[in-house]
């Protein structure tokens, strides 16, 4: 049942953030709050699914020499759609994600997936891959964001979790905190892997 396998592998086994280590920029830049992280995750997932489907459809008619430009155009189109739609219907989120929406284009995951997967697989599997990878991406973004928002702001999804008296550790929502959080998460994953 390869469809199902393609669907689930992105979540843990080939998690784009922790295992493949691509798409670092949005992972770190948009995880200051869980809300942003989920927004980013969904946007990226949408693009991933659409572009994976599209690319596996057109893979046979694109000559090798212009393969990358063509894929890039396809992906950029979907990204722009997301960008505009978000600006029109979710303006606040759009504002806080800022530059990183257009950057989904280059976001290595998507190109990585297009090159590595959709280019070689059929539509159904590509779609499954897109969904899986997107979910995996969203999930890891949320995990990182949860830690950062909790430590750096005392809240989760804007709900106050830690008591008011907690003096938030601001570094968690600053740039260095993003690196540290992800670094330690990765170390934890390595440790778990070693244990097995």
């Amino acid at each position: 049942m390869s469809f199902f396998k393609e669907l689930t592998k992105g979540i843990i086994k080939e998690n784009p953030t922790f295992v493949i280590v691509l798409g670092m920029c949005p992972t770190l830049a948009t995880t200051t709050s869980v809300k942003n992280a989920i927004g980013m995750g969904i946007a990226a997932t949408f693009v991933l699914i659409c572009s994976n489907i599209m690319i596996s459809l057109i893979k046979n008619i694109t000559p090798d020499k212009i393969r990358i430009p063509v894929y890039v155009v396809v992906i950029a189109a979907f990204v722009s759609v997301v960008d505009m739609a978000m600006a029109a219907y979710l303006p606040d989120l759009h504002k806080s994600l800022g530059l990183f929406i257009p950057l989904i284009v280059v976001n290595c995951i998507i190109l990585g997936r297009a090159e590595a997967f959709a280019n070689k697989n059929n539509v159904l599997n590509s779609m499954a891959d897109g969904i899986g990878m997107g979910l995996g991406f969203t999930l890891s973004l949320s995990v990182v964001a949860t830690i950062r928002e909790l430590l750096g702001n005392g809240t989760w999804l804007d709900m106050r979790i830690l008591p008011q008296s907690y003096n938030p550790m601001l570094i968690a929502i600053l740039a260095p905190g993003a690196f540290f959080t992800l670094g330690f998460l990765m170390a934890a994953i390595n440790m778990l892997k070693e244990k097995r």
Binding site: K65, I66, P69, V73
Partner: protein, 341 residues
């Protein structure tokens, strides 16, 4: 279809101009890339990439080249042999051969064995208290090495550290052993061991001398510690039905080309210096009397004279004598012999 609908729906500058602009950009870039592809095309040998792709990518250096891609390059451009990649084994060799259009050549799967059983550090007698860096190579280079046996394992695990496939571990005596399933015969351990205790042998060889000491018997015994030293008594050589063992300089050595894995030497060795991997699991040959035509080929072939029988009559095998080497099976023209537990 969609295009036409959209176009039809709103033909106006709102759609037309952007479409034209981007269209032209696409056209221009497409043509430029196409021209560039023609004009700047470089003949690279695609085979290098193909070979790199099928190599295991461990970059272990076993082939003697700078990493896997280095080897791929060497195969294509310098005509390096296709069967140098030990980790990849015969499969990869065959694959490369197919790409290169040559024959894979024989690639007997090999693995590492240790010719020492002492266990090294703490399990042998030491001449002195060694106070230096814990590496066999370093320790061996001062004062002849710390262990009393000049030939034996020092035990700082240089071999174990060198093995990137995790094939080496310690047995209950503290001696290093190789997991043949994991061993890829890359030879890194062989290079690492300053005592030259490790040898790559074909994986179908089951009997090994577990000692490298050139000392005279009593001396070897005195220094060995928990191991089983070879004392050079020569009993094994005399027991060997195929003369695969020679003893020189107080040490027995097995010629793996001759050895038939019968294990007789191991049974005979007074110091248990010979390891028999098949001990206890060895099968015996049995002749199917129906199929046997009594050609006596097997009688001649059997190294231990376990087969007897009249010409043209079904032969029989003396189970006591049979060592399960399987030579008769190979030789029997009628495939009348089988192995039985």
């Amino acid at each position: 279809m969609i295009v036409t609908t959209i176009l039809a729906a709103s033909i106006g500058s709102q759609v037309l101009i952007p479409v034209i602009i981007l269209g032209i950009m696409g056209l221009v870039f497409g043509i430029i890339l196409a021209i560039a592809a023609k004009f700047f095309s470089v003949q690279t040998d695609p085979r290098v990439e193909e070979i790199t792709a099928i190599l295991p990518g461990a970059n272990c250096g076993g082939c003697g080249k700078a990493g896997c891609s280095g080897y791929a390059d060497a195969v294509v451009h310098d005509g390096a042999p296709v069967n140098l990649c030990a980790p990849g084994g015969a499969e990869v060799a065959a694959h490369i051969a197919r790409i290169m259009g040559t024959e894979a050549g024989s690639m007997q799967k090999k693995a590492a064995v240790f010719h020492c059983s002492s266990g090294g550090y703490k399990n042998t007698n030491w001449k002195y208290t060694y106070d230096g860096i814990e590496s066999c190579k370093s320790a061996a280079s001062i004062a002849g090495g710390p262990n009393a046996c000049f030939w034996g394992c020092i035990g700082y695990n240089d071999c174990l550290k060198a093995c990137m496939f995790g094939a080496i571990s310690l047995d209950e005596n503290g001696m290093r052993v190789v997991d043949w399933d994991k061993c890829t015969a890359c030879g890194a351990c062989v290079k690492a061991c300053p005592r030259k205790l490790i040898e790559l042998v074909p994986q179908n060889c089951a009997v090994h001398i577990k000692c490298s000491s050139l000392a005279k018997g009593p001396d070897a015994k005195a220094v060995c510690g928990t191991g089983n030293p070879c004392i050079g008594c020569g009993i094994c050589a005399r027991k060997c039905p195929v003369q695969a063992i020679t003893v020189s300089n107080n040490l027995a050595r097995i010629d793996y080309d001759k050895c038939i894995n019968c294990g007789l030497c191991a049974k005979a060795c007074p110091t248990k210096a010979i390891l028999d991997l098949l001990a206890g699991s060895r099968k015996k040959a049995e002749i199917d009397p129906e199929a046997c035509i009594g050609c006596a080929i097997c009688v001649k072939a059997c190294p231990v004279e376990a087969i007897s029988g009249e010409l043209k009559q079904a032969h029989s095998i003396d189970k006591e004598k049979c060592v399960g080497c399987g030579i008769c099976i190979e030789k029997c023209p009628k495939k009348a012999i089988r192995m039985q537990d």
